[in-house]
Assembly symmetry: C2
Homo-oligomer: 230 residues x 2
DNA sequence: TTGCTCCTCACGTCACGTGAGGTGGC
DNA sequence: TTGCTCCTCACGTCACGTGAGGTGGC
């Protein structure tokens, strides 16, 4: 005339472990025991399990289900609804990002919004841009994005392809042409010319990081070219 | 010239523990150690952490981030996008339910869709309806919903309020009037008259459960009335 | 006796948070 | 010596899943 734990679970459409978890979580009273120690569940327990299940299906945690019993339940549902709305909004933003990634308007190797449709970036460029996003403000990043969004010039290509052991004459040539290219960009995009006002952290850690990154990411010939341009 | 774990974490905008977790999860190579055993992180590690962070912000799990490196990454993002769409849909359905609960068109004590705007239900009624939803199909529940959605009649009220020790004459009177009410409902809502075709499980477990629930939920006088009606 | 069910520990999951306890650097 | 940082265990979180090991019922 009474149900075992397994039977109760089956009737309620949950697992054995779930029923036991409801006991452990203090949501469900333990039933009486038969002489052999077997639990004896009755209608009231089944109804309770079904009610708990209804609430967990709505997304309430056990801790909240306990408070629903005590406090004004409307508040719990209002709070839950606001949280759901926020979660949905966040997931939709992620989906929008994923859509941009799918059609090439964004890349997972780069900060949000950076496109790679116009040019291939070297791994050094990708790394640097990611680091810039931790160091500089949105205005700087917006101007950088515009610079990245252009076709690559021959001067840039030569700089990217520069061999570590490039001869002095080659380095001088690349420095002249790449320097002119950088100067042209700087004239048009002032944040790239003077990045200091765009640092997120005024302590100097940002510039130190970028200097170091450049030092580790570019080869000796490229570093020499950059030094000549400065 | 190299960073400690704490410094790397700060530069990347994550916690110490997160960096260590990336090591444990096999996402991030361990750096070289100084003579004293301190870890020495460099630019490549920072870039790697920032890339991992970008992917986890998009909702990828470490297990998937590992496969993004190997397999075709587009698949991972497509899969993720489908999952996000499904999650959003589920959360929106929950919000719709919550809205119904908020305006009284549904109750958390009852199966989805049951309203309590037209009448107060006794606790026995609420319990029974919840149990019915585990035993009967949607057509039965739809007809039951229509029955519940009506104003309560005097006969129902008298049945609900029947005292356990009600006198014979009172029980006979309630049985006559409540029986007429039930007969009227049955004529209009055929599923309530003959529920057997609407059982989800043909084994007889369903009717046994309901019989037992009625036995535990109603008092002796009410059970006597129900017996007379049958 | 065999096969099935019941019971109670108790570890595993996931992405970390949070000490515990010991050592190095200034 | 003191205060700060670094290191490596290792337990806790949440809602259960999944055995392990022992007993009862037929």
């Amino acid at each position: 005339v009474a149900w075992s734990t397994k039977q109760l679970a089956t009737l309620a459409g949950v697992t054995l472990r779930t029923v036991r978890w409801y006991h452990e979580a203090g949501l469900l009273d333990e039933p009486e025991r038969a002489a052999n120690g077997y639990k004896q569940y009755r209608i009231a327990h089944l109804v309770r399990v079904l009610r708990i299940k209804r609430l967990t299906d709505l997304g309430l945690t056990p801790a909240r289900i306990r408070t629903v019993g005590s406090g004004p339940p409307a508040n719990a549902f209002e709070l839950l609804d606001r949280e759901l709305a926020a979660t949905i909004e966040r997931l939709q933003a992620v989906r929008a990002e994923l859509a941009l990634v799918a059609d090439g308007s964004a890349s997972v190797d780069l900060p949000a919004g950076f496109s790679t449709t116009r040019r291939d970036l070297t791994d050094a460029d990708r790394s640097l841009i990611l680091l810039y996003s931790r160091v500089f403000d949105d205005e700087f990043m917006a101007q950088l994005r515009r610079a990245v969004d252009r076709e690559r010039t021959d001067a840039e290509r030569d700089f990217d392809d520069l061999r570590p052991d490039a001869a002095e004459s080659v380095r001088a040539d690349v420095a002249a042409r790449y320097g002119a290219h950088v100067a042209g960009l700087a004239a048009e995009l002032p944040a790239l010319a003077d990045a200091r006002p765009h640092l997120l952290d005024a302590s100097g850690a940002g510039t130190a990081l970028i200097d170091r990154a450049i030092d580790e990411l570019y080869n000796p010939a490229q570093l020499d070219v950059l030094a000549r341009i400065r």
